[in-house]
């Protein structure tokens, strides 16, 4: 049920003894995961301003149907992927939990934006500091709001995890971490400043 046994080595082999025909061997779990990762029916749980960026992501320009993830099902019972987009208040937490529980296995949860991931700057009496306090979360997408490119990164990361059978949560990171580049703008400026002071 959405869980795959850990595997080692190469799983899928396509054999082409002749040019016209051939066959492939694979594991059943891999075949199921391959099907699941390309048919992520979404259940949008949109509560706040990240919703505007979510609309951008679902627009034709970014074309979620490339990933088979474009179909919204506004019933959680028909959905695979719960997009939690925006701030979740304490008052809304029971609703979110109920929506999650209504989804059929296998199911995945995406935390869209900083508020859904950790509460963001809403550190107060009214806000749940991250949806993982309520429901298990698979992919965290940081950003306030995240760029559509970041969201696509998160979606592809989730597909990757489904294919690998990896149930651990993941966070979307920038492709290049500026800290890793000693000559990057801000870091360089800081070091130059230190030199000039010294």
């Amino acid at each position: 049920m959405g869980e795959l046994a850990p595997k080692t080595g190469k799983s899928t082999h396509v054999m082409q003894p002749a040019l016209v025909d051939g066959f492939a061997t694979t594991r059943l779990q891999d075949l199921l995961a391959w099907a699941q990762k390309y048919s992520l029916f979404m259940c949008p749980f949109v509560t706040a301003c990240c919703g505007m960026e979510f609309m951008g992501v679902t627009s034709p320009r970014y074309d979620l149907s490339r990933f088979g993830a474009e179909v919204p099902r506004f019933s959680p019972r028909q959905s695979d992927l719960l997009w939690v987009v925006g701030t979740i208040t304490q008052r809304q937490a029971p609703v979110l939990k109920r929506i999650y529980e209504q989804m059929a296995e296998p199911k995945w949860v995406m935390a869209f934006g900083t508020c859904a991931s950790c509460g963001g700057f809403y550190d107060n009496y009214a806000t749940v500091a991250g949806i993982d306090k309520i429901v298990p979360c698979d992919v965290y997408i940081p950003g306030c709001p995240p760029r559509p490119e970041g969201v696509l990164d998160g979606l592809m990361l989730l597909m990757d995890k489904i294919a690998r059978g990896d149930k651990r949560p993941a966070v979307v990171k920038p492709r290049v971490d500026p800290v890793d580049l000693p000559t990057h703008g801000l870091v360089q400026l800081a070091s130059k400043k230190r030199e000039s002071v010294a």
């Binding site: 080595g9 190469k10 799983s11 899928t12 082999h13 396509v14 054999m15 082409q16 003894p17 002749a18 025909d21 051939g22 066959f23 891999d30 391959w34 304490q90 008052r91 937490a93 029971p94 939990k97 107060n124 009496y125 009214a126 749940v128 993982d132 306090k133 309520i134 429901v135 298990p136 990164d153 998160g154 592809m156 990361l157 597909m159 990757d160 294919a163 690998r164 149930k167 651990r168 949560p169 993941a170 966070v171 979307v172 990171k173 492709r175």
Partner: protein
């Protein structure tokens, strides 16, 4: 412009007007809580005032003062175009008996604003038709915008999850989110000639090749 109003109130309700001041041209009248409803009704109905719009109603908590709370209402006249801010001071140090007359029968907009004021500050409005919490949930204990509400206190409706061992491992993997979709299947396309993959030749089993 609203100075005329302040003078009018001072003449009409000499005992009810405790003090007046102006900030950046906005006149403010501080009223006795017992006359709160009466003066507001006068401000709504009297021809020189005609404050037919209640713009805002809220409260301020001054924990060092006695009375502790200041209830603030902003009034506006669509006929005359003038504004007036009226305040009243209620509540002792504990804040339990903070109460003032409701304005919900004078202005419809007071209904929800007084509910919010009760929700956030715990100021009761006597005569309000339906004084329930409006933003927070009924199970909430206390009033969060009071200065003595602990800043870190949360009251979850759903018990928080206890993270299982393998569900959240922090920090996340070093390359998490970067090599996505590239190391997934490890699919190998081969013609069957690789002896490591296929120790027995494909030709030895001709039935398999079809």
């Amino acid at each position: 412009m609203a100075q005329r109003l302040v003078d009018l109130l001072k003449n009409q309700f000499a005992l009810a007007v405790l003090e007046t001041h102006a900030q950046h041209g906005d006149e403010t009248v501080v009223l006795d809580p017992g006359s709160w409803h009466e003066v507001c009704r006068y401000l709504r109905d009297a021809p020189p005032a005609q404050m037919n719009m209640l713009i805002d109603l809220t409260a301020v908590d001054y924990p060092d003062r006695d009375p502790r709370f200041e209830v603030v209402a902003h009034l506006y006249s669509l006929h005359h175009g003038h504004r007036l801010r009226v305040k009243t001071r209620v509540g002792d140090q504990s804040g339990d008996d903070a109460a003032v007359d409701s304005l919900a029968d004078l202005w419809g907009s007071a209904n929800w604003m007084e509910r919010e004021c009760w929700d956030m500050f715990g100021v009761r409005f006597i005569g309000h038709p339906d004084l329930r919490r409006i933003l927070l949930y009924p199970e909430f204990i206390g009033h969060p915008l009071r200065k003595d509400y602990p800043a870190e206190r949360i009251q979850p409706l759903v018990p928080y999850r206890i993270e299982e061992a393998n569900e959240k491992i922090a920090p996340f993997g070093k390359y998490e989110g970067m090599p996505f979709g590239r190391q997934t299947h490890q699919t190998v396309i081969t013609d069957g000639s690789d002896p490591e993959l296929f120790p027995e030749s494909v030709d030895a089993h001709p039935s398999r090749s079809h």
